[in-house]
């Protein structure tokens, strides 16, 4: 079987839309609400989850034949927790500003249901390479939703993107214009509504759902 056979491509791409972890399986919503008020933490969070899901999947897949069935969830948790700790330590050492911004949410990746879901449902019964692709796909499926929500929330809530001003200052009411930032956008509730809109859009595009 080649590395990018049809089945493997399917494993990689299906979580992006058809089987999206956030929009279809409705997993990982909690962190999707928490870190998307601005675009930058959303991107870093998406990437961290992608890396951790991919490597946790590989490790569990390599160990899958040796893991005692009764403690398999504990083993999965230990693997995820150690990977998350590693990533958070590395961020603190080499990307301090980002780690300050993400604060507790890196640690909370441990409790992200997407990870446990993929480990239990996929890595426990597939080979390392397929599991790696599945992890990357699921991570990216989560990441793009975060980025989309973060994009809308930062643009309309703050008038900026990645901290750069997009909506010109002169349009604001304080400076004699007509525009006011939408304070709702910075609230977690609005993120839930945006995720809801995304789910609606995805379902409308894909008739089979």
């Amino acid at each position: 079987m080649s590395l990018f056979s049809k089945a493997n491509r399917e494993v990689l791409t299906s979580p992006l839309a058809k089987n999206n972890p956030v929009a279809v399986q409705v997993l990982g919503i909690c962190s999707a609400l928490a870190v998307t008020a601005q675009l930058e933490p959303a991107i870093v969070m998406g990437l961290s989850v992608t890396v951790i899901t991919a490597f946790a999947n590989v490790i569990i897949s390599l160990l899958r034949k040796t893991i005692p069935n009764r403690i398999r969830i504990i083993v999965q948790l230990v693997v995820v927790a150690s990977l998350v700790t590693l990533v958070s330590q590395i961020l603190k050492a080499y990307a301090y500003d980002v780690s300050v911004q993400l604060s507790v949410y890196v640690g909370l990746i441990i409790t992200n249901c997407i990870l446990m879901g993929r480990l239990e449902a996929f890595a426990m019964m597939n080979g390392p390479w397929e599991s790696f692709l599945d992890g990357v796909g699921s991570g990216l499926g989560y990441a793009w939703i975060l980025v989309a929500v973060g994009f809308v929330r930062e643009l309309f809530g703050n008038g900026t993107l990645l901290g750069l001003r997009v909506i010109p200052d002169s349009l604001y009411v304080e400076n004699g214009g007509f525009y006011v930032n939408n304070g709702m956008m910075t609230m977690p509730a609005m993120a839930l509504i945006l995720v809801g809109c995304l789910i609606w859009a995805l379902r409308a595009c894909q008739k089979e759902q």
């Binding site: 008020a37 893991i67 403690i71 590693l86 603190k92 301090y96 604060s103």
Partner: protein, 241 residues
């Protein structure tokens, strides 16, 4: 091999825990020096930001600007006694952790900006969701603010978190710490609701952030409590002149 045997499960779990413990302990101790450096550098950046020296690129620029601007870091108490004179640079006031700032242990950074002396004092407080902290640079007259820097643990992004941004912090520049004709020595500088600055008090009142009232109140309390602790030191400085 039977992976369901009790003995196998126990041995598997033990080996896994030991391996993971060693791995994490190794990584943690290997990265500790770099992380400590980052924390130190970040603190220097914050002190420089309160002096209006922002957007410094790279660690070297920060170190250079810091060693030029900050003359010494003392530890004083609320009565104005100097406990450590700050002769060992970065070893006296600088190493005091935020949590240990108390009336009997108050760090002060004596700085020189364009040959004028400024005093930077740290302050800590509580916001809506978590801790707040900041640095305030005070002019040599000990009555007006030269600059301020605030940050927070977990205030609402886009609302309370705006206290960490330049526009809010710059509103403090040039404000008076004490009310006009004040003789009690109680700091009057505070944050009020956005647009609610009282007539005639615009030298001691700062506009808060709309939609972040509790964070604004937190900053206000932090500034007042912080300044109050240093009044004794300011008085002792004035007497020496």
């Amino acid at each position: 091999m039977d992976t369901n045997k009790n003995s196998y499960t126990i041995i598997y779990a033990s080996v896994m825990v030991i391996v993971v413990a060693f791995l994490l302990a190794f990584v943690s101790s290997a990265l500790k020096p770099t992380q400590d450096q980052n924390v130190e550098l970040d603190k220097k950046k914050q002190i420089l930001a309160s002096l209006g020296l922002r957007d410094l690129d790279g660690a070297e620029a920060v170190e250079k600007a810091y060693s030029e601007a900050v003359v010494c870091d003392l530890v004083v108490d609320s009565l104005g006694n100097v406990l450590k004179d700050g002769k060992n640079k970065d070893k006296d006031g600088f190493v005091v952790p935020q949590k240990e700032i108390s009336p009997s242990c108050l760090p002060v950074y004596v700085c020189k900006i364009k040959d004028e002396t400024k005093y930077v004092i740290p302050m800590t407080g509580r916001g809506l969701w978590g801790g707040l902290w900041g640095y305030m640079a005070i002019n040599a007259d000990l009555r007006t603010v030269f600059g301020a820097y605030f940050s927070h643990e977990s205030e609402t992004a886009g609302l309370g978190a705006l206290i960490a941004d330049k526009p809010f912090q710059e509103k403090f520049i040039g404000k008076n710490i004490f009310a006009e004709g004040d003789s009690t020595g109680t700091p009057a500088l505070c944050v009020v609701k956005n647009g609610k600055v009282e007539a005639g008090k615009d030298k001691t009142q700062v506009d808060g952030i709309t939609g972040a009232t509790l964070t604004s109140v937190g900053v206000s309390n932090m500034v007042q409590d912080g300044l109050k602790q240093y009044v004794g030191y300011f008085k002792s400085l004035e007497q020496k002149r």
